[in-house]
């Protein structure tokens, strides 16, 4: 009902939506089912999927445990806030492969904890994923805290609640959905990440509980890239399809 302007805006918008949506449609319709079934049966793929769920999950937990208190403080405001905000947003502007290099400098052999090994370890993968996904957890949670009317906090305090009790009984329940969304975004960011992981832990050594022993696998985006360069588009897309279906499924369950 905006006349020609609405039509024009919709036309421009549809072009973008087609650019975003058509590749997905083409991708899904062009799949070779036998390749997908083959990939889905491969134990290599199973190990890879386990790592792809597990690693980002650890990074999300770390982002929330340390990020929610930070988000709470940012929502309340403090002096020197601008510097902290820049630091939180830093991973958003650092190119992905540079993020991996930063992690190597910070936590590698000559880094803060020389005894900790990050190259090709799950520790390194989780550190890299936490680095790139923490801003999503912090910023989303912060917005959730900021939309809470400060008078609710005042009311809780005047009725006897300490800052911690107010946090526990008012802010956490009211920001719950925001924190959950932040966690899901951080997790999705972790599942997506290619560059930082490719630098720090192209192949990851980790304990695989289903066989009960140490094993080596690749984070899914790395595995798909590797398959693409070594075996071609068809094989890579079969694995990519499984990963997409899995991500979509977990997303639907969480929502």
């Amino acid at each position: 009902n905006d006349g020609w302007f609405g039509v024009a805006a919709a036309t421009f918008g549809v072009v973008l939506l087609l650019a975003l949506g058509m590749p997905l449609v083409m991708f899904i319709t062009r799949q070779n089912p036998s390749l997908i079934v083959e990939a889905a049966r491969s134990s290599e793929v199973h190990t890879m999927l386990y790592l792809t769920i597990y690693g980002p999950l650890l990074a999300t937990v770390a982002s929330l445990v340390f990020g929610v208190p930070l988000a709470y403080l940012l929502a309340r405001g403090f002096s020197g806030q601008a510097i902290v905000e820049s630091l939180v947003d830093l991973p958003l502007v650092v190119p992905h492969s540079v993020a991996g290099i930063l992690i190597l400098f910070g936590f590698g052999r000559r880094g803060l904890f020389p005894g900790v090994s990050v190259l090709t370890t799950i520790t390194g993968m989780v550190l890299a994923l936490t680095f790139v996904s923490a801003p999503f957890a912090v910023n989303t949670t912060r917005e959730a805290f900021e939309t809470i009317d400060s008078r609710l906090e005042y009311a809780a305090r005047s009725h006897g609640a300490t800052p911690f009790e107010t946090f526990r009984r008012i802010q956490i329940p009211l920001a719950y959905r925001g924190i959950l969304t932040g966690g899901v975004l951080a997790w999705a960011r972790g599942v997506s990440e290619f560059g930082a992981v490719a630098v720090v832990a192209y192949s990851v050594n980790f304990f695989y509980p289903f066989t009960g022993e140490e094993t080596v696998a690749q984070h899914a985006p790395v595995y798909i890239f590797n398959t693409f360069t070594s075996a071609g588009l068809a094989d890579a897309s079969a694995v990519a399809f499984i990963l997409l279906v899995m991500s979509a499924g977990i997303f639907l369950i969480v929502r």
Partner: protein
């Protein structure tokens, strides 16, 4: 037990001038002290400073004791907010019981709700309440912790006029015996609820007194204006109308301005401006030279008409120079 408050606080927000709050007063047990002032006068800030919500420089004293660094949960005040600020994720009962965990002597939620006549709302969610219901629940929540005093921040202002009148009557009964500080910009509310009124302007109390004192004997032209009195500069009046030579202004409430009255008092000549009906009579604005005077009259008057005006001597009040303006 009455208590004294002595507040000297400066609030600094980036990009604006610092705001100074400076007030000292005593509240008697069971009394309702109404803080009356325009928006921006700092009356809500005063209440929130008493409750301890804001950082500021300066000190706040309670009965002579410095409470500046006491957090809100250690100050024994209940706070009723303008929009009630009920916890949206808790039922009415849970809202009212919220403070019980921290106050061993708290009243039972059910019984406070029953006392306020809203026991039937206990299982409802705040978003389903009407304005009047929410106001009672907010009051119940604050009364349940048996605070030293209630702080009320214009809890009537969000309501329709007829609802407001009903709830104002109720509130009068409900807080009659509770020590309370009630903030409003509405002089009708102030007059209905107050035992004493503190008129606030620019962060300072410009007059503190009984309703009668503030409405009939305003300390400054501002108080006269804000309480609905007429306030004429002495220079606009003949000497016999000015009660005393030192007066700079003469205040008189509109209901005492007599139109075409007996010439027992000094009569002035004025032109009728606007005639607006109100309950029972008309509100009439009168031009007296450059000054405007308001009167209530049931006489039939037309704009432009010239009338004789008298300001009865026992209702005139002299405002003297040197008082803070």
């Amino acid at each position: 037990m009455s208590f004294e408050l002595d507040i000297g606080a400066t609030f600094t927000t980036q990009g604006t001038d610092p705001f100074d709050l400076d007030a000292e007063f005593e509240v008697e047990t069971g009394e309702t002290l109404v803080v009356l002032g325009p928006s921006g006068s700092g009356k809500t800030l005063l209440l929130e400073t008493i409750a301890g919500y804001h950082d500021h420089s300066g000190r706040v004293f309670f009965d002579g004791r410095d409470v500046t660094d006491d957090p809100p949960e250690e100050r024994d005040f209940g706070f009723v907010f303008q929009d009630y600020a009920l916890f949206p994720h808790l039922t009415v009962r849970e809202n009212v019981a919220f403070g019980a965990r921290y106050h061993p002597d708290a009243l039972d939620a059910e019984s406070v709700l029953a006392d306020l006549g809203v026991a039937h709302l206990a299982d409802r969610w705040p978003r389903t309440l009407s304005g009047g219901e929410a106001q009672r629940v907010a009051l119940a929540r604050s009364l349940a912790i048996r605070p030293e005093a209630l702080l009320l921040d214009e809890p009537l202002s969000a309501l329709d006029v007829p609802t407001r009148e009903v709830l104002r009557d109720d509130l009068q009964d409900l807080i009659a015996d509770v020590t309370s500080i009630y903030v409003t910009h509405n002089r009708t509310t102030a007059r209905a609820l107050a035992d004493r009124i503190a008129v606030m302007r620019d962060g300072r109390i410009v007059q503190l007194g009984t309703v009668e004192e503030v409405f009939r004997r305003p300390a400054t032209p501002f108080v006269a204006w804000f309480t609905g009195s007429n306030c004429l500069p002495a220079t606009a009046l003949s000497d016999e109308v000015v009660p005393q030579p030192s007066a700079t202004h003469v205040a008189i409430r509109p209901e005492f301005v007599e139109l075409d009255g007996a010439a027992t008092n000094a009569s002035l000549s004025a032109t009728v401006g606007r005639v607006t009906p109100r309950d029972g009579d008309n509100r009439v604005t009168l031009s007296l030279g450059d000054e405007v005077l308001t009167a209530f009259s049931s006489r039939s008057l037309s704009p432009g008409e010239t009338v004789a005006v008298s300001l009865p001597s026992d209702h005139r009040w002299a405002i003297e120079d040197g008082r803070p303006e």
